[in-house]
């Protein structure tokens, strides 16, 4: 791999305080992810996949070790800086889609661009193009409840790509979908690495993980 380094994690750890006790969700984890590479974090629930995604996505900060995203030390960024980085350079796909039910597919895709202050004509062009790429040209003005699960996740992927991110974080993106629909969504996600995106995906499904360039077995790491 020769692309720019998007994520560089060295000996990162994350501890949570739960009541009086300390829970160690991630311990001394090393990883380097480059542009155009897809990495699957595989393992059962509770093994720390989502915690790592939160760290790589700059939603959270490590309690130990050193983490750089796009060459910037995550620990050195304040909340506002991390928000700005997430908005402009990182796309998120969630298991539960989290589309706003009050907005249409088009508006859901347009929303992050409004937050990023993208000009209206550019927003329109990008949203239509992304939804067309997801095969949803005929669903632009449908609300989430009028879409199937697969269509909702496609809209969510289009939304994640709206601000032209360089890193895509996907947390169990097929968790709420049937196998066939899930497979098409996974293909869609992994195709994105050809655009130069770095992809980090959490999954407990070995088949889903096998499509990635690299698979990290969290259970084995923990052992």
């Amino acid at each position: 791999m020769t692309g720019e380094v998007v994520i560089r994690a060295s000996q990162i750890g994350k501890q949570y305080r739960v009541g009086a006790s300390i829970v160690e969700a991630v311990r001394a984890f090393d990883l380097e992810v480059r542009a155009g590479e897809s990495v699957a974090l595989m393992g059962p629930s509770g093994c720390g996949k989502s915690t790592l995604l939160n760290l790589f996505g700059c939603v959270d900060t490590p309690t130990s070790g050193h983490l750089e995203v796009f060459g910037t030390d995550v620990a050195s960024m304040n909340e506002g800086d991390r928000s700005a980085l997430r908005l402009r350079r990182i796309g998120f796909v969630f298991q539960r889609f989290y589309l706003l039910p009050v907005l249409t597919a088009f508006e859901n895709v347009e929303l992050p661009m409004i937050e990023a202050r993208v000009a209206k004509p550019e927003r329109r062009t990008r949203a239509e193009s992304l939804l067309a790429r997801m095969g949803l040209t005929h669903r632009l003005h449908h609300r989430p409840h009028q879409l199937s699960g697969g269509e909702m996740q496609r809209v969510a992927i289009a939304r994640a790509l709206a601000n032209q991110p360089r890193l895509l974080i996907a947390d169990e993106p097929t968790g709420e979908l049937d196998r066939k629909t899930g497979a098409s969504i996974l293909n869609l996600i992994h195709e994105l690495r050809h655009d130069g995106l770095a992809i980090v995906m959490a999954t407990h499904d070995a088949h889903a993980a096998s499509l990635a360039d690299r698979v990290i077995d969290m259970e084995r790491l923990a052992a």
Partner: protein, 398 residues
Amino acid sequence: MMVRVALRNVMRHRLRTAFTVAALAIAVALLADMLMLSNGMEKTFYRVLSSVGYEVRVCPWGTLPFSTDAAIAESSRVVRALDDEPHVERWLRVLGTTLYSDSTSLFAMGIDGSEQSLYTVTGGVDLNAAPADDRANVVLNENAAEALGVDVGDEIELRTGVTSDRTAFVVVGIIALAFDLPQQRTIVMPMDVVYHLRPEMRDAASFVLVKLKTPASPSNSFAPLDDQRAVAASLAAEFPELSVYSLDQLMEALQGQLAYFKQFALVLSTISVFITFLLIAVVLTIGVGERRGEIAALRSMGFRRASIRGMVLAESAILLAMGAVAGSILGWILAGRLDRILTQSPSLPAGYRFFIPEPREIAIAVVITAVAGAIAALLPAVFAARIDIPRTLHEEVV
């Protein structure tokens, strides 16, 4: 877009929104009406006091005009002092008593003064504008004329008591008095006539009204407040057994009598503001709680805390705007209805109002409600903006 999202979030639960807006409308209407109640009587008093055009009132000690049967015993002393007072343009001595016809009783007022502005003549002429014969001239209000079945030019006979002798009068005019009660039958006659009918009340007066000189101003405008206070203070010093009021002192004394209404209005106003506060806080907290996953997802996608706060505050503003529009209409209608009910009281002068619907009071109510609502929205807005993203997303999935 966040405003559009807020609007659609508000419309997401139509029934909840409808109930919330209805409750907010009631709170705005209640607040507006209480402000109107608080100010309405005060404005009415001032308007009525202004309409008769006198600045200073001399009354028996501790009383307001016609508030008791008390009388000034030696009123000629007062009017002599007024004649010597350089600021005084004219005065009107008034004495109230009761006279009887064969069929009804009348509230009779004897007046004495060079010119009066206590009432307006709506038919015929004033007392001193008609030639007098051996019968005294009288003017009476519509109620009295109707009760007695008389009109201008007719003769009436009245007595001071059921068994007293009758005295004949000529009706020379029909009048309207600002202070009349709705059903009150009022008759006005020269003071000498009342003294003749009631010799035991000779030289007495219920009160004396004083008009001050107003240089370079129309005759019906008021003298400067300093002059009013100076004349009132001078009279009060000369007649310590009497109460003397300038216009502002009289308003103050009347406001004292309105304290009950003001306290009542203040309590209900405060309750309506608290209702608004709690309503907005509860509705928005529930709304934010239901959408924690969505909000956490938006935050994780990079939406700024300010955007999330703005969305929740916009929801509050939309609810408040809808409540304000409905509440303004409701408050206006309610004020009219309540005023009609309360002003039907037989013990209230006809021109008096409790609620005067005015845009200013509505605007103040809307502003107070908006401020209360905005403050109430702050807590859920901050809660939404500071949501713990990893924990919320984890809890939502689990």
